[in-house]
């Protein structure tokens, strides 16, 4: 395991609605990148842990994203599953904004 973080450019901050999410595919995997109500950004695995549904299609309210199919919900800052049927936490990845560009560390 390396201590060097590899940042991957993902999108512009303006590509994501405030209190919104977009899907980001990279290296054969899919992720969701969120813009919180305070304009901070976060990144999680892209698929709900209950069934393989893209979370970026779900509603983001405050710091919560809801699966568009089964209404399971996660705190996207920590990946914590906060409503059934989701019970397994989401993996999270570091995300930051540099000069209006969002980059994520997927290592």
């Amino acid at each position: 395991m390396s201590n060097v973080i590899t940042w991957v450019p993902a999108c512009k901050l303006d590509d994501i609605e405030q209190e919104g999410a977009i899907r980001f595919d990279h290296g054969g995997r899919t992720y969701a990148i969120y813009r919180g109500p305070d304009d901070s950004v976060y990144c999680t695995a892209g698929l709900c842990t209950h069934e393989a549904i893209h979370l970026a299609d779900g509603l983001v309210m405050d710091y919560e994203v809801e699966c568009p199919k089964h209404s399971g919900a996660f705190d996207y800052r920590t990946g914590e599953a906060i409503r059934l049927p989701a019970c397994e936490n989401l993996k999270t990845y570091p995300a930051e904004i540099v000069d209006g560009e969002v980059r994520v560390a997927l290592g």
Binding site: E19, H54, D57, L59, P68, H70
Partner: protein, 401 residues
């Protein structure tokens, strides 16, 4: 009170068992189901992966055991004695309960024409396995019934290159649960995909290689699937003298006419604020009623008031409906990129919303609509029609008001 018995281990019965533990119930808890498997989710049955039917357990054996749920698969309930508070089970045992939940679900309506026994049902894992084991390219499948289940199956089978005919008594498919605008769009999409519709037609016979329609024409088919709807499984309740109608009748707290017996899910017809009883057949309803019934059995008194909601996926299109759209409602349409929403107003108040779009593209907006419906708002129809007006902003201003 220390013994709770649940009859029916589908989505509702199983969710209720887990929810009872979440509500702090610590007594004995038995979950009885007629099917031989672990409790499983039904929605994936119409979505085979690589040709194989998906068996997705609602929870594993370890999780049931860890929660102290005594799960008894493969057992039917033969008699309920509400006075003795006991249920005789198919394995010869009699279980005594303090509180009972009936989550007996629904079973497919049966065709009555000659040859009806040749038609396959589509409800259980075993049903789905039987259909998909035979359904391969080059086959001809006739689906009796153009409702949600029949049309989902048609889409999946067309995706496998199978010839599909849909036979429906009504003049149009999807007439019952889907608003006309979206039913027409889905119908058109099925026709584009090559599904052959025989509408306004009854059946006169099912033979080895065809379905004979009431006008005498023959629809060639080597597999016939019956998808003409379900009826609530009320037999146990009815024989025990509980009040039944189109389902086991309950009050708003999901209690049947016997105060120690509750009902939830497809089998339950719940008293409505405006009078009458309503029964809903959906995944979410099964879970939402289970949760309310569980909390009430554990000592709560919560009226069931969730807004009905369902989804269906056909080809790459996803439809979601929240609330109960009615032809008398004022409808307002909003065009989206890759989809369309329709809102339904009753005396100005938003009471239902539906959307059809690519994938889960309309899911967010339907969820926000559901929250707007729950908030009891009467939005400006112009704002609803205008895609530049953010529904989340409408919700926030309604909540601030």
């Amino acid at each position: 009170m220390d013994r709770i018995l649940i009859i029916g281990a589908g989505e509702s019965g199983t969710r209720a068992a887990v929810a009872l533990r979440e509500s702090g119930f610590t007594g004995s808890l038995t979950l009885v189901g007629t099917e031989p498997h672990l409790p499983y989710e039904r929605p994936p049955l119409s979505k085979p992966l690589d040709g194989a039917v998906q068996m997705k357990p609602i929870c594993g054996a370890e999780a049931l055991e860890a929660a102290g749920i005594d799960y008894r698969p493969g057992i039917s309930a033969s008699r309920l004695d509400a006075d003795a508070r006991s249920v005789a089970l198919g394995d010869g045992q009699t279980r005594v309960y303090d509180k009972l939940l009936l989550a007996t679900g629904a079973r497919p309506r049966q065709l009555t024409c000659p040859g009806a026994e040749r038609a396959l049902d589509f409800r259980t894992y075993a049903d789905a396995a039987a259909i998909f084991a035979r359904a391969e390219s080059g086959r001809q499948v006739a689906i009796i019934g153009g409702g949600l289940i029949g049309m989902e199956l048609a889409a999946v089978l067309r995706g496998k290159g199978i010839d599909v005919s849909v036979i429906e008594m009504a003049p149009k498919p999807l007439g019952r649960a889907v608003p006309p605008r979206f039913a027409a769009r889905l119908h058109a999409r099925h026709e584009e995909e090559g599904v052959v519709f025989h509408l306004g037609q009854g059946l006169s016979e099912i033979t080895d290689d065809a379905v004979v329609l009431s006008d005498g024409s023959r629809v060639p088919a080597d597999i016939v699937v019956s998808a003409i709807g379900v009826q609530p499984d009320v037999a146990l309740a009815e024989a025990a003298g509980l009040a039944v109608g189109n389902g086991i009748l309950t009050d708003p707290y999901l209690r049947t006419s016997d105060p120690n017996i509750y009902a939830s899910g497809d089998c339950a017809a719940v008293a409505q604020p405006g009078g009458g009883h309503m029964r809903f057949e959906s995944w979410r309803n099964a879970r939402a009623q289970a949760e309310v019934a569980a909390r009430n059995m554990a000592g709560g008194k919560e009226a069931f008031a969730a807004i009905p909601w369902f989804w269906t996926d056909q080809y790459d299109l996803g439809l979601q409906v929240a609330g109960l759209p009615h032809p008398d409602h004022q409808s307002v349409t909003r065009q989206l990129e890759g989809g369309e929403l329709e809102f339904y107003l009753d005396g100005g108040r938003l009471v239902a919303a539906a959307g059809l779009g690519l994938g889960n593209g309309i899911a967010k907006d339907i969820k926000l609509s559901e929250m707007l419906i729950a908030a009891g708002v009467s939005p400006d129809p112009g704002a609803l029609a205008d895609a530049s007006v953010n529904l989340k902003a409408l919700l926030k201003s309604a909540r601030a008001a």
